[in-house]
C-alpha cells in the first residue's frame, strides 16, 4: 500500500500491465524519454525501451491508426493523446475504424486498445487544453468510455481497460492528476468497466457525477448534510458508456430526486442520456424534474472565464436545493 496521486497511480497500472503482458505497449507524443507531458509514462522508457514505449511522430491519426494495426495483429497498445482537445485530429480513425473493426470483420479482428487522454478544465490552459468531449465517444457504438475520479479507481480501471478485449477511451481529469493522494495497494487491482460506484450513500437526492465533478459533488453533499440536514447519494459513474442504468435507477427509486453534473456542454451531452435512462427505469419514483448542471452551450471561453462556465459547488448546491423544493 502506498499513498499515490493519480499520475503515479496510472503509472503503476501501466508498469504492472507491461510487466505481466509483453504484448502491452505504450505509444504517443513525448511518452518516451520525457515520460509524457503529465509524467504518466515516466520511467517506462527506461524500463522497457523505445520499442515498447514508443515516441511517435507528432500525428494523432498516425498514432491511433498504427495502434489499430498493432491491435489487429494481437498487440495491446495503450495510446496517449496529449490533450483530449487534439483528438479530433484522430477522431476519424477512432470512429471509422477503432470502434468498428470487430463488426466489420464479424469478430475475426477486434481492437484491444486503450486511448488515454487528459481532459477537462481547472489548469489555466489555452484552447484545446481544457475541454470535456466525452459525449462524442460515449455516443459511438463499439467503444467504451471510462472516466475515473481518483487515484485508486484510476489505477484499477486502467488495468481493466488494458485487459478489455474492446477499445476503451480513457479520460483522465487534469484537475485530479495532482489533487489528492489515496492509498493504492501494491498488488494488481482491477475494477469492472460498466459499473458505477455509490460514492456516498444517502436517502434524499441522487447526485450523478464523474471525473473531476465528483469532488464538487462531495463538497455539495457535505454542505447539504451540514446546512440543510439533507442526505445526498453520490453516484460516481466511472464508466460513461456502457452506462450503469441499474445503479442509477436503484438510487433514484430510493431518493426520488436527481441532479446530474458534468463539465461537457449541456445540449445532447451525457446528462441527457442519464436523465432519460432514469426516467425510463424509475419514472414513478421521481418527485421532481431531473436537473442538469453543466458547462454552457458555448465553445471554449478562455481560462479567465472558465470558472463561470464549469460547474462549481455553488451552482450544484442551488440546483439541488431547487430540486428538493420542487
Amino acid at each position: 500500500m502506498a499513498k499515490l496521486n493519480m499520475v503515479k497511480a496510472l503509472n503503476l497500472a501501466l508498469l504492472q500491465e507491461m510487466e505481466r503482458d509483453p504484448d502491452v505497449l505504450v505509444i504517443g507524443e513525448d511518452v518516451g524519454v520525457d515520460g509524457g507531458v503529465f509524467r504518466v509514462t515516466e520511467d517506462l522508457h527506461r524500463k522497457f525501451g523505445g520499442t515498447r514505449v514508443v515516441d511517435s511522430p507528432l500525428a494523432e491519426a498516425g498514432i491511433i491508426g498504427a495502434a489499430v494495426g498493432m491491435s489487429l495483429y494481437g498487440l495491446k497498445p495503450v495510446c496517449e493523446i496529449q490533450f483530449s482537445g487534439f483528438a479530433f485530429q484522430c477522431f476519424h480513425q477512432i470512429e471509422n475504424h477503432v470502434a468498428r473493426y470487430r463488426m466489420r470483420s464479424q469478430g475475426r479482428f477486434g481492437c484491444q486498445m486503450v486511448v488515454r487522454m487528459p481532459y477537462g478544465g481547472g489548469v489555466r490552459a489555452l484552447e484545446h487544453h481544457s475541454e470535456s468531449e466525452e459525449q462524442f465517444y460515449a455516443h459511438v457504438p463499439g467503444l467504451k468510455m471510462v472516466i475515473p475520479s481518483g487515484p485508486r479507481n484510476a489505477r484499477a480501471l486502467l488495468a481493466a481497460a488494458i485487459r478489455d478485449p474492446d477499445p476503451v477511451i480513457f479520460f483522465e481529469a487534469k484537475a485530479l492528476y495532482h489533487a489528492a493522494k489515496e492509498d493504492v495497494p501494491d498488488e494488481i487491482e482491477t475494477m469492472p468497466i460498466g459499473r458505477a460506484h455509490v460514492d456516498r450513500p444517502g436517502r434524499d437526492l441522487t447526485l450523478v457525477a464523474y471525473g473531476a465533478m465528483v469532488r464538487v459533488a462531495r463538497e455539495v453533499a457535505e454542505r447539504l448534510h451540514e446546512e440543510d440536514g439533507v442526505e445526498v447519494e453520490i453516484v460516481d459513474l466511472l464508466t460513461i458508456s456502457p452506462l450503469d442504468r441499474e445503479t442509477l435507477a436503484a438510487s433514484v427509486r430510493k431518493t426520488g430526486h436527481a441532479v446530474i453534473v458534468h463539465e461537457a456542454p449541456r445540449s445532447f451531452g451525457p446528462g441527457a442520456e442519464i436523465a432519460t435512462s432514469i426516467m425510463e427505469e424509475a419514472f414513478l419514483s421521481l418527485e421532481a424534474p431531473i436537473r442538469r448542471v453543466t458547462a454552457y452551450d458555448v465553445p471554449f471561453v478562455g481560462f479567465a472565464r472558465e470558472r463561470a462556465n464549469v460547474p462549481d459547488a455553488a451552482r450544484v448546491l442551488a440546483a439541488c436545493r431547487e430540486t428538493l423544493a420542487f
Partner: protein
C-alpha cells in the same frame, strides 16, 4: 549585401537531386524487353494470367448482377488487373494484405471467395469476414484510412520478430489524404517492412490527377519520407511483378518501406453509381483501352504458347458456381447485428436485442421478393429502386 562581394554565408546544397525511375517491360503489343525479363517460371505466368482474366470476368459479372439489383454498389476494377495481380502475387501467404475498396482481383488471389465478395456487396457483413488464418484486412471504405493500419501491422510483425511483409493498397485520390502522409511518415521513421502500392488510375471519381497533386509523379512523394519510390507501367503485369518483388524483398530483408506507383487507368465507372461520360472523353478511354493489360499480357503469352485453351470457359463455370452459392444464402437474420458490436454486449445492448427478438417473434418474417432471373429486364419500379438481396418490408409495430 553589396554586389560583387562574395557571400560569407552562401546557400549550400544539402540534398542532391532526386531521380524517379519508371519501369516498363512489355510494350503495348506484348513484346518483351528481354534485358528486363523478370524470369518468371511458365507455370507462374499461367497463374498470373488466370488471375487477371478471373478478375476481369468476375468484375463484368458483378456489374451485371448490380444492374439487375442482385448486389448493391461496388467499385469495378476493369483495367487494373495487372496492377493488382502483379503486386499481390509477390506476397507469401503469411504476409499481410491491406486493401482499400477496389481490389477484387487481388482479394481473389489472396483467398477471398467470390461468394464472400458477392455477399459483401449484397450488404452482408459476413462477406467481409476474413478466415481465421487469413492475414488480410477487410475492405476499407474511407479513403486512405487503411494505410496507418498497415503501419501498425508492420510494426507489430517487427515487434514479434515475424518476417512478414505488409502490402497496402490505395489510389491516386488517397495520396491527398492526411492518413496517407502520416502513414508514409511513420513507415519511414520506423523503417517498416511495408510496401505502399498506389494504383494511379488517373481519376478520383471526377477529379483528374492534375487536380489531385502538383507533383510530377506520385512515386516521388516517398522520397520526402526518406524511402524509395518507383513508378511502373501499371498495365504491364511483368513490370508490376518485378518492382513489387524487389520491394517485398527489401522489406523482408529489413531495408524498409517502398512506394510503388502503378500508372494505370480505370476503364469503367468509379462505382456503379457513377457516369464517367460526364467528366472524361471517349477518346481518352479508347486510348487506354489500346493499352489494356489483358491484351498485352495475352499477346505475350500467345507468343510463348502459354495460353490455356478453354481458360475463359473454365473461369465462367467457376463464377457461375459462386453466383449460385451466393444466391442460395438465405435472408439475413437481423439479430446477428448484435453479435459483433462488442466482445461481450452490455446489459443495455442485451436489452435492445431482446426487444428486437420479441418483435420478430410477433411479426412473421416475409420472404424477400425474388429478384428477376438473370437476363430478364427488371420491372420499371425496380429500376428506380432496385431491391437488395434480403431486403425486407418495413416492420410494423
Amino acid at each position: 549585401m553589396r554586389e560583387n562581394e562574395p557571400a560569407t554565408m552562401p546557400r549550400t546544397i544539402v540534398e542532391p537531386q532526386f531521380t524517379v525511375e519508371h519501369l516498363s517491360i512489355l510494350d503495348s503489343d506484348g513484346t518483351l524487353d528481354s534485358a528486363l525479363d523478370p524470369d518468371i517460371p511458365p507455370e507462374d505466368l499461367k497463374r498470373l494470367h488466370h488471375a487477371m482474366r478471373l478478375g476481369r470476368r468476375f468484375d463484368e459479372r458483378m456489374l451485371r448482377l448490380q444492374r439487375q439489383g442482385r448486389i448493391g454498389t461496388f467499385a469495378p476494377i476493369k483495367g487494373q488487373e495487372a496492377a493488382q495481380i502483379g503486386s499481390v502475387a509477390t506476397l507469401r501467404r503469411t504476409d499481410w494484405m491491406v486493401p482499400s475498396f477496389r481490389e477484387t482481383a487481388a482479394m481473389l488471389w489472396r483467398g477471398w471467395t467470390m461468394e464472400h465478395i458477392l455477399l459483401f456487396f449484397a450488404g452482408y457483413l459476413e462477406g467481409g469476414q476474413p478466415a481465421p488464418d487469413q492475414r488480410d484486412l477487410p475492405i476499407c471504405i474511407p479513403v486512405g484510412g487503411q494505410l496507418p493500419h498497415a503501419v501498425g501491422l508492420a510494426y507489430a510483425a517487427q515487434y514479434r520478430g515475424d518476417d512478414s511483409v505488409v502490402m497496402a493498397y490505395c489510389g491516386d485520390g488517397a495520396t491527398s489524404e492526411g492518413d496517407f502522409h502520416e502513414a508514409m511518415n511513420f513507415a519511414g521513421v520506423w523503417h517498416l517492412p511495408l510496401v505502399f502500392l498506389v494504383q494511379n488510375n488517373q481519376w478520383a471519381i471526377s477529379v483528374p490527377l492534375k487536380k489531385q497533386t502538383h507533383s510530377r509523379t506520385i512515386a516521388q512523394k516517398a522520397l520526402a519520407y526518406g524511402f524509395p519510390g518507383l513508378q511502373v507501367d501499371g498495365n504491364d503485369v511483368l513490370a508490376v511483378y518485378a518492382a513489387s518483388r524487389e520491394a517485398v524483398e527489401r522489406a523482408r530483408a529489413g531495408d524498409g518501406p517502398t512506394l510503388i506507383e502503378c500508372v494505370t487507368y480505370r476503364l469503367g465507372v468509379h462505382t456503379t453509381s457513377d457516369d464517367p461520360t460526364k467528366y472524361r472523353s471517349a477518346e481518352e478511354v479508347e486510348a487506354w483501352e489500346r493499352k489494356d493489360p489483358l491484351t498485352r499480357f495475352g499477346a505475350y503469352l500467345q507468343q510463348r504458347n502459354l495460353v490455356e485453351p478453354g481458360l475463359d470457359e473454365a473461369i465462367d463455370a467457376d463464377i457461375a458456381r459462386a453466383v449460385e452459392a451466393f444466391e442460395a444464402v438465405g435472408a439475413p437474420d437481423p439479430l446477428v447485428m448484435f453479435d459483433h458490436a462488442y466482445a461481450t454486449p452490455s446489459v443495455a445492448l442485451e436489452g435492445q436485442r431482446a426487444e428486437m427478438a420479441g418483435r420478430l417473434a410477433r411479426t412473421p418474417v416475409t420472404a424477400p421478393a425474388a429478384p428477376p432471373a438473370e437476363g430478364e429486364a427488371p420491372a420499371a419500379a425496380e429500376r428506380q429502386s432496385p431491391p437488395m438481396r434480403g431486403q425486407r418490408r418495413p416492420w410494423r409495430s
